[in-house]
């Protein structure tokens, strides 16, 4: 394989891993968010390489764009709180790392023992992953899940509004009238 291509893929993979590690080790949440943006962009490039331009751009606009803006906004709102580094739960850190290592090892084992070897990925023809084609499938075969997704988003919007609405203690609820302000007809 071409050394240039290998180099590009190597750098992309490294970026993904490093930004992910950076995300979880940064003490400042804002840095984590920025690492996540880097990660998202790198993964989006990988999508492009896999011949999925629609998903790649959706990744960049939805994730790296709006969701990250939301994250950063909340971090600003709540203050970038620096929590102490000490681990209050005894054994949590060691056990977690141990389990993750076992998890990875098992996945590798599974891949080696249980699956047939995979070929290289064929190049995706331009027509296959075009937005027009995706739109056709989305509004035909996946129409019902699409509509359900719309409702999930609607529910999430309403839920977010209700949860973050500030209920002041002084404002009386409508319908509960105080006796000293009688309503005369």
């Amino acid at each position: 394989m071409d050394i240039g291509v290998l180099l590009v893929y190597g750098i992309l993979g490294l970026t993904v891993i490093v930004s992910a590690i950076g995300l979880i080790v940064s003490r400042n949440a804002l840095y984590s968010a920025l690492f996540l943006v880097v990660n998202f962009v790198a993964v989006g490039l990988l999508y492009l390489a896999l011949g999925a331009p629609f998903i790649a751009f959706a990744q960049v606009t939805v994730y790296a764009g709006s969701i990250m803006v939301l994250f950063i906004f909340v971090i600003m709102l709540l203050g970038a709180e620096n929590l102490p580094l000490t681990e209050p739960l005894r054994g949590q850190r060691a056990l977690g790392i141990l389990l993750v290592v076992i998890f990875l090892a098992e996945i590798v084992l599974y891949y080696l023992l249980r699956t047939t070897p995979l070929q290289a990925i064929p190049l995706t023809p331009q027509s296959l992953a075009s937005p027009a084609e995706i739109g056709m499938i989305l509004f035909n075969r996946y129409l019902l899940p699409f509509e359900v997704t719309a409702f999930i988003l609607l529910g999430a919007t309403i839920g977010a509004i209700v949860l973050s609405k500030h209920e002041g203690p002084t404002r009386p609820k409508p319908g509960i009238q105080k006796p000293e302000t009688p309503v005369e007809g």
Binding site: I24, A52, Q92, L104, V108, T149
Partner: protein, 99 residues
């Protein structure tokens, strides 16, 4: 590129995401780690979609992304509400619901 490249990359991202969820006490970072895990799964979806030359994988990524967006919106709203009540967002401080 061979398939194993994507598999290894995805597994690594997922494992790092798991570590973030388990070890970090800042819920915002936990959320980001969750997004990382979503991304690992998405990457595999797209990779296998290309491998088998079927578009369905791409569409699943689309659905995962919308659901993740919804989840983040609700989760962050919860964070704001909790912060208002407890004036902290430390996950370990939210341990009142216990046996």
């Amino acid at each position: 590129m061979p398939m194993s490249y994507y598999l290894i990359l995805s597994a690594a991202m997922f494992a790092i995401g798991v570590l973030g969820v388990i070890l970090r006490r800042n819920p915002l970072v936990v959320f980001m780690s969750l997004e990382l895990m979503f991304n690992a799964a998405n990457l595999l979806f797209v990779a296998f979609s290309a491998y088998h030359q079927i578009l369905d994988g791409n569409l699943f990524v689309f659905f995962v992304m919308t659901t993740a967006a919804a989840e983040v919106a609700v989760g962050l709203a919860l964070m704001v509400a909790i912060f208002r009540a407890k004036h902290t967002i430390d996950l370990d401080e939210m341990n009142m619901l216990k046996g």
